[in-house]
Symmetry: C2
Subunit: 612 residues, 2 copies
């Protein structure tokens, strides 16, 4: 059979396929990693593409469901459903390109003893009669011999109907004294764990009875339209009367959508979800729960609540079992949230006997330090540079982003999915800065060396061209400016200052650290040697570092499965000594020193220089 050519734009990659193959198969062969969580069943609706030219198969019923008439009119298709009938040009719409390529959903393995807060209980009731006209609730409570058990109004709204429809047999979901759900016999009890990031949402559907993760889903946080970062969302909430409500409802809507995807994937009903854990930073936590954030944005940056919070999922409109609860772990401060607590729990920072530093790098970087069972934590305003923001050609870690840079005879880069480069993400910038320093194009203060062959002068300003226009994916050069370098210096300087202050508060030296855990998407993909070379971390042997991925998501699943973990979370938050950096007298000198591009020794003065 003759081959057909399919071209994907961007990245402008072409592949030859056989007639009858779907565009999703073509994309995979072309190395274009389209989202397709349903495995090409047409149910997840993630693999949307636009047919720019060429003949393709007719819309399938799945596509007619998934796409609005306007989208169909615009040539949108589901790649998994659409078959090329001849040479085709396919456009990947912006939402596909911005799809988070590296939602590190795996993280650490769950290592907790199964002890979930909700447990199943089978009941088989005698139906009522004129000689036994007890109320449905009384009958149920008598059958389970738990006179102190509690049935909420929300459960009672459907109890009578369920009992009759299920012929007086049921599988109860019991949470302490509370009955959460009355499911048909044999139905499994499921839980939902959510890592609610400022940028990304990751959700896990978990079987509470055996601890297995049944399905995963990832989405962008839709609040992004109200502001890229926490500060701008707080500002939005403060300046719009319904701002809080809008940001709450759009996240709840996204979660409801993810729940639908997850339960569809494993052929269960949303009513089987009887418990939810959500971890997120303090602002995301507050916005989800409908709490005020104004005081989070103003000194002294106080959360409305820091203890663990539980409330009925129905209160905020989450469409699962009607009486299911949402558990939000405790936070430690306005800028050290429950996601950091969950990460620390997953990494067992709370119970280690070793000396462990755990760093969660993001726009805000949270650091915890465990020393002989003592716990310290702080938060550094590291800014969004490592997420590609505020960098001339910066971008998120998406396809086509430069993620690695090395300089030998020439500048060599690696891009995500090996696509033609279209920008540079955090780990790429960090590499570039480390390499440019190593080859002498940058001095330790972050200034370009005039005359260095890599340094160009344009309009009186220095810059380095990493990728010339002709080699990039979009026909424009990819460069680094002095301002870009400065952003990285600010970010890594803040992190280093936080690390040093925590070590100093704990009264230990960096070489006493047994382990340094680096969490989060950027933390997972950054090159540790580069980070050490620019002095982002204290000079500690490489083998002491461990990159642990999305440990917050793992922690969330553990909190779903283990009541002990919840106690440990309370204990961790209570025991942790929070160090406020902004009022620490050593912060400013350490921050200034931390901006230097060198593997600074803690005891090294600002004038010492030591390039390797």
């Amino acid at each position: 059979m003759p081959d057909i050519s399919v071209e994907f734009q961007p990245p402008g990659r072409r592949v030859e396929i056989q007639i009858g193959a779907t565009l999703l198969e073509a994309a995979r062969r072309a190395g274009v990693n389209l989202l397709a969580t349903c495995g090409g069943q047409g149910t997840c609706h993630a693999c949307r593409v636009r047919i720019a030219s060429g003949a393709v198969s007719a819309l399938t019923p799945e596509e007619q469901t998934a796409l609005t008439p306007a989208e169909q009119e615009a040539g949108l298709r589901l790649a998994c459903q659409c078959i090329a009938r001849g040479d085709v040009r396919v456009e990947l719409p912006p939402e596909s390109l911005s799809a988070p390529q590296r939602l590190s959903l795996e993280g650490l393995d769950t290592q907790v003893t199964l002890d979930p807060p909700v447990r199943p209980l089978e009941v088989n009731l005698e139906p009522p009669s004129l000689s036994d006209p007890r109320s449905d609730a009384t009958r149920l409570l008598a059958a389970i011999q738990a006179s102190d058990a509690h049935l909420s109004r929300r459960l009672l709204t459907s109890l009578s109907e369920h009992l009759r429809r299920q012929a007086w047999k049921a599988r109860l979901a019991v949470r302490g004294r509370e009955i959460i759900a009355l499911l048909p016999p044999t139905n499994p009890l499921l839980g939902l764990a959510v890592d609610l990031g400022t940028t990304k949402l990751a959700a896990y559907l978990v079987n509470l009875e055996n601890g297995t993760t049944l399905a995963r889903a990832g989405e962008m946080n839709p609040q992004i339209v109200y502001g890229e970062d926490v500060i701008s969302r707080i500002h939005y909430a403060n300046t719009h009367p319904d701002g809080r409500e809008k940001m709450q409802s759009c996240v709840v809507e996204a979660l409801n959508q993810m729940v639908k995807e997850l339960v569809t994937q494993v052929h269960v009903r949303a009513e089987n979800i009887v418990e939810v854990v959500v971890v997120g930073n303090t602002a995301m936590h507050h916005l989800l729960a409908g709490l005020p954030v104004k005081q989070l944005g103003e000194s002294p940056y106080v959360p409305a609540v820091s203890d663990a919070l539980e409330f009925p999922a129905a209160e905020i409109g989450l469409e699962i079992a009607p009486a299911a609860c949402i558990y939000l772990p405790p936070n430690i401060a306005g800028y050290v949230g429950a996601d950091h607590v969950a990460m620390a729990l997953a990494a067992e920072v709370h119970r280690t006997h070793r000396t462990v530093l755990a760093v969660d790098i993001g726009t805000n970087t949270e650091i915890s330090l465990a020393v002989n069972g003592r716990l310290f934590t702080c938060s550094c305003a590291s800014g969004p540079a490592f997420e590609g923001a505020h960098i001339t050609d910066g971008m998120r870690a998406a396809p086509g982003a430069i993620e690695k840079v090395s300089i030998g005879e020439t500048i060599r880069v690696t891009t995500i999915e090996n696509l033609p480069p279209v920008g540079i993400c955090g780990s790429g910038v960090l590499d570039a800065v480390a390499e440019l320093t190593r080859v002498g194009a940058l001095d330790r203060r972050g200034n370009f060396k005039t005359g260095h062959p890599l340094v160009q002068s344009r309009a009186g300003k220095h810059q380095v061209v990493l990728i010339p226009a002709e080699a990039s994916g979009h026909g424009r050069p990819i460069t680094l400016s002095r301002a870009d370098i400065h952003e990285i210096q600010l970010a890594k300087g803040a992190i280093r200052a936080g690390l040093e202050i925590l070590l100093s508060e704990a009264g230990i030296r960096a070489d006493e650290l047994d382990e340094i855990l680096v969490a989060g998407a950027f933390g997972t993909y950054l090159d540790l040697e580069s980070a050490l070379r620019v002095g982002m971390f204290p000079p500690v042997p490489l083998q002491k570092f461990r990159q642990i991925g999305n440990a917050a998501g793992t922690g969330a699943r553990q909190l779903l499965l283990s009541r002990k973990r919840r106690q440990e979370a309370d204990d961790f938050a209570r025991r942790t000594c929070y160090v406020e950096l902004t009022r620490h007298k050593q912060f400013l000198p350490l921050f200034t020193r931390g901006m230097m591009l060198e593997p600074m020794q803690p005891d090294t003065g600002p004038n010492a220089a030591a390039h390797n």
Copy 2:
């Protein structure tokens, strides 16, 4: 000073008053009972009238607030504010006429030791700082030294703002471990007690700190548009997908409106209401709480829940303190509701050492019997005849209704407010039946005696004309037919059968009763001699009866003020032996015998006759 003439239309009554008197004073002198719960302060806005002709004083500021421009344009005034300047014709608008004239809001006096579930606690906090950045919740809990206290998500949604607005001072409303509200200093804690009747709503605003009732309001139950009685509302819920939601929301809306009226009357805010008690029959209870009623309408008539129920008021949309709870007392069966429990508590049936029968007469009549601490209860389907329904010229106990009938030389009637008669209400029909029996116009089987001077024959059917057309308020005669008599026989027969069965279950005779309590609007106004004469009650000396008014409303207020009463309610519901009449083998013979119009002795055979 010359007198001024004021005429009220309807009822077409004229009165002479002195210049300077308000129209409310005129109405009172004329015996026109306008609603004026505020005592004429211009705050309750209940005494609206329309000036049809004549000169009156200018609008007061109170009236300008109370009346919309359109209402002012239409000549509406508050009778308590408006002073006649000359002869005036006043129209009573329909809502004033249809206003329930006998919402017996008073009932028994509250006689409980003050021990409300919500108590005040003053706090005065140190504001947060960078050196003390504890969360607002942690700060508050530390200040009240109650580490096990609980702050719900709903409270937390406004906690931070309130603390800052109130300069870190607050009056807390504390309910067990839960903090319900954070009020400005000096604000009182208030409670709302509601008697949620099938026909009428009565609401009381109560000061939880001293037990006083601050204000009262009465409204018709707006669910009436979905059906006059419980059965038709259950039918509506079963046959309309959103029927339950609609009936719930219209009642909640009416309650919110009543809350607004109540708090306006006493110049407080709805947020000061921190606890609510609602008593109602089991169907009203279920519809308010959003519970299914289908199973209530089908044998074996099972409630979804019978235990006391508590839930956040915000869950059903009641607009008071955001974390306030609604308490619904236990019910005993599908047709013995929490209103009966509340009545029994108010009358102290639950703790009496005497032998007491308590009867709550309505469309459904609930009866409780206390014998040596043993408790029995049953429910009789007595039908709506005593509320004026299913009677040719029947009407509710509203102005113009015949409420008393006596027969001497002629038939003499008394009407409510002494207006020209327009119909006959329950107590009037009962009187009429008793008197017609006494004078021999009716036999004990309820048949008219052909040839008796009061009995007319029309189209082959017998009837008695109580009021000829020319003497009535609407120009039509007011009559009683055989069918009307039959309705009364069915009603009183059901009640009598229930009474006899309860006595028999308890193993006592009627003459062993120490007291018979008769509650409810009809029960308060019925003529006991008439009731005894037609055999509605066993032959018990008149002085053993006590008519106790709206005891359910009193019970609701007691349940608001006393946690002990709530325990007693649980205990009463648990201890009470519910007797299901429909399956009782003596019911049918006793019901048949009970229909006889005679002061039947329990041991009297159906052939015995004893007119007095």
